[in-house]
């Protein structure tokens, strides 16, 4: 059941006390007076679904995948009670792009901020949405996100007219890729020797709908006439301007999104206003969100494709489609054209240019600190550990501990994870990023980076060649608990003596997810001012599973008493 109430303090009575107190301490009284509490009650269960016309067991929220959209206004409190009705499987839900200021235990990252939610349990997430914008939520446990647990969060600006653009109507577009194999099969394959790769997605979904070619499906599993897999229809009226809030929650695919015949003006990225620029189509990576404006100024007597296409990997998946329909959505007929196929999949510079183009709106620049206190240089490589293929940063492949860092650090459970600091850099001067890794060995570790509270941290992500020759992929890196300034991108080897001079310190965009292009580097800066423990990882589900992530701690001593609800695993099993 989903409920929204405009209640204030009294309405929050069902929030666990500790969550409640610590959360409201961080809000000013004036905000409180206007803030609403947006309540949702969710039950997570497996259901048979046919999002692309092929029947598959999907993890659902109240029977649906994607789950319900959370709508709130800036300053509201969102309270989501999550009941785990999976049979044998645990659960955690992450609120992607929400910084969780004062509520680090509500970040929903299993192993980092909480123990998983057991079958039969109800866990309540309560957090403030302090910035308007377009966000996502999704499972953050194992590879569970790929099973269907995801949806959108839309936070409206607190006041009308606060945003630097206007529009007549709004649509939500949630992009995904989809496999008929279970996430268990996918994960087991990734962990196998030899490596078993699931292959390219079976379908691309738009708002949970796609279309697989039934003639290629296992007999009896595919039904192309199901309403459930009919293309989504987006209604417009001639002459009006629409905001499309676009999010990608793909497990693997970098996508290019196009609305046939309707150029898009990019105005928002990851909850921050962008200096507007117009594109024919939009490159979007897993974990990113954008808002674009389009004007309905085309022939209203036909329909138009919305199309998502795989880029950055050689596509093996049919274009994902939906329909733009004039006259208020009067027609759901397919357009008379073939769907747009997007740019060449391997045109890295095309995507690079969009990255560089994405800077802060002139009226909404938040200037970064001029210098950093610390710079961490992370080489992204594919490695082998005991014949398993893994991803590593500076030859360290990440593994999650079974006691969440947040609890382990707050309680001083030093044995819960490796206490040695992970490497700050790699031997970059002699490294040829265009060659296969000279040392493909790596070690696994659950060590984390401890940041001085309030310090300014630069991270440079350096991409490189994979284990196979002439291969480098795009990695969308996502930081929990913060936005970061995107100071620069390059193709080639990052040189700390050269490239920082070219950083954009004038109007860099703030984001929470950013692409590292093939053979490229991306430099970002953030302020370690949010007490808690925060994951930073490649948002490709398989890559994080294979070790492509790190974790930051900052200001743990400033974190309020932890709710006991996040405990119960690892060294906190049975109340220890």
């Amino acid at each position: 059941m989903d409920m929204e109430s405009e209640s204030q303090q009294a309405g929050a009575q069902r929030v666990p006390r500790l969550l409640f107190i610590s959360f409201f301490l961080s809000l000013s009284l004036s905000t409180l007076a206007r803030a609403a509490t947006r309540r949702h009650e969710w039950e997570i269960s497996y259901q048979f679904k046919s999002p692309d016309c092929v029947r598959k067991l999907a993890a659902t929220i109240n029977g649906q995948s994607p789950g319900p959209t959370i709508r709130a206004a800036q300053g509201d409190t969102v309270v989501v009670s999550v009941k785990n009705s999976l049979l044998t499987e645990n659960l955690a839900l992450h609120w992607h792009g929400i910084r969780q200021i004062g509520t680090p235990w509500a970040d929903g990252t299993e192993g980092v901020t909480q123990c998983p939610i057991l079958p039969g349990e109800t866990f309540t997430y309560a957090f403030a949405v302090d910035r308007p914008g377009t966000y996502i939520y999704h499972a953050h446990y194992g590879m569970q996100r790929s099973a269907g647990l995801y949806g959108m969060i839309v936070v409206a600006a607190a006041a009308p007219g606060a945003e630097p653009f206007a529009y007549d109507g709004e649509h939500l577009v949630l992009l995904n890729d989809w496999w008929h194999n279970s996430t268990y099969e996918q994960a087991a394959g990734l962990a196998s020797v030899p490596f078993v790769w699931v292959g390219e997605p079976h379908s691309l979904l738009i708002n949970g709908r796609g279309r697989f070619n039934c003639s290629a499906a296992v007999a009896g599993t595919c039904n192309a006439t199901l309403p459930e897999c009919a293309a989504e229809v987006f209604a417009v009226e001639t002459g009006k301007t629409y905001r499309f809030r676009i999010a990608s929650i793909t497990s693997l695919s970098a996508l290019n999104f196009e609305i046939e015949g309707h150029p898009m003006t990019v105005v928002e990225a990851d909850g921050h206003y962008v200096k507007p620029f117009v594109v024919k189509n939009l490159n979007i990576y897993s974990g990113e969100t954008y808002s674009v404006l389009i004007t309905a100024d085309q022939d209203p007597n036909r329909t138009y494709w919305l199309a998502s296409n795989v880029v950055s990997r050689k596509p093996g998946t049919t274009t994902g489609t939906a329909i733009l329909s004039y006259h208020g959505g009067g027609s759901s007929s397919p357009p008379p054209t073939t769907p747009p196929t997007g740019p060449a999949w391997n045109d890295t510079m095309y995507r690079f240019q969009q990255s560089v183009m994405t800077v802060a709106h002139p009226a909404h620049v938040e200037p970064p600190p001029a210098i950093a206190d610390r710079a961490i240089l992370l080489l992204n490589t594919q490695n082998k550990i005991d014949e398993h293929i893994r991803w590593a940063l500076n030859n360290v492949s990440f593994t999650l501990p079974h006691t969440p860092y947040l609890v382990a650090m707050k309680r001083g459970l030093l044995g819960a994870f490796d206490q040695r600091p992970p490497p700050e850099t790699y031997a970059h001067q002699g490294y040829d990023i265009y060659e296969k890794p000279p040392n493909p060995n790596a070690t696994t570790s659950d060590a984390l980076y401890r940041l001085r509270f309030g310090s300014v941290v630069d991270v440079v992500l350096q991409n490189a060649n994979m284990l196979d020759a002439n291969k480098s992929e795009t990695h969308p890196w996502h930081l929990h608990g913060h936005d970061f300034w995107v100071l620069g991108y390059g193709i080639g080897r990052f040189d700390p003596a050269v490239h920082p001079a070219s950083y954009n310190l004038k109007d860099p965009i703030l984001k929470n997810t950013v692409a590292v292009h093939p053979y490229g580097w991306t430099a970002l800066r953030f302020k370690a001012d949010n007490p808690g423990v925060w994951a930073f990882h490649c948002h490709i589900e398989a890559h994080f599973f294979m070790g492509m992530g790190i974790v930051f701690e900052e200001g743990i001593e400033r974190v309020a008493d932890l709710p006991t609800e996040i405990m119960g695993c690892g060294k906190t099993k049975g109340g220890h």
Copy 2:
């Protein structure tokens, strides 16, 4: 890693202290002096396996399914450290037929005796094997057993010659049924409206090996030449006598097992010696074990089939096969014959007669108490609850609580489950068991039966017609923590005023699992003298999942302090 050591107290140092102390208190010093500790270290993970030549993700123990055989001698201690390396899924392992006297927390029944083992955790089971015989272990959480987590326990008699029969060699036969669908799909189907039934097994396995017809498999998934799915070969030498220890761990199927050309003398059932009788083939239900003796007295220059066939349901599965090979297993060639097909699947009386024939060995009769203190009469029906198909006892369909009963009762957590007693009987006088249930409605409940410690309890299980006309199935009921005397069987309606007079009080067999035949009843008696909380349920995986079970409590006040390792879920989450 599996290890066996003849160590005494010192060797047990790695057992958690509480398990250790309470366990050894229950052993006499003289037993201690000779008892060995049998240690096993198991890691549970998903692996791709092809038990019937079709590749499927299976839950494995140290990479194997079936798992390793646990071998011990009467009076030994078995210590199994179970590390959960599943990605997102919890776990519990049950030691089927082991009474767990003094160690009720080691029974491995999720929701009854323990919280599940979380991913990353290691849980140590430690228990005495106090009786010689043939037992089983398997997962007891959701429908996880069907995913491949099962194996055998063989407990040798403490002294040579203690058993009332002799043999030259021994073989283990572990029977199973197998589906290519995942257990998640199976469970979701059972819980769906409309009900989605997985269908008859794809294969019957003998020692984890079967053979699916590759031409009927999804392309690319089946490989008939894999050594992994080659039939097991059982080696014999002419003139010798062999004990075959036979166990069935099927999810669904009642089986008939035959060794072509070799009559079997039944000598053991569920760890108790049977008054020997000879059969051409053996009916065996899920959760049962038997030992039979055969003599290798046939033409040694050919091989012979071991065959398992579905009975009691209309078969839709090819005969499961293995090979008996003379000259010490010199040949693995298929026999020149077609495999035995067993008796007519619907010949209930054939199976009924075997049930009645199975009584205690004259030299090993343990007479039951002459009268019972309490009699519980349980009508087994198929019902509908909110359009879901469920199984019920006296119109109550069982659900597991999320706080294990053992913990909830010991700690007085009264809110953890329904405190009202479940029904002792049903309106039997007017009930026509041959008709569809007149009242198909039922309620779900997690209430349990509280038994006076030391009291003698009779349970009569009454089978009946299912929701569809002219349909009644065999249900193998399994009791945890006890053996029960099987006092009688009947076909038709049990009349408490008539049938108890015909109970066998002279030489009833003790068992832990017993069949309730179609439209039949089975009467059993046990002494409530094992402090703890114990499940009693139909051993068909889908039936227990759909509510076909109850739970007994007895002497909870005599249970020693519980190990905290079994806690951490439900009302004991986070140490509450």
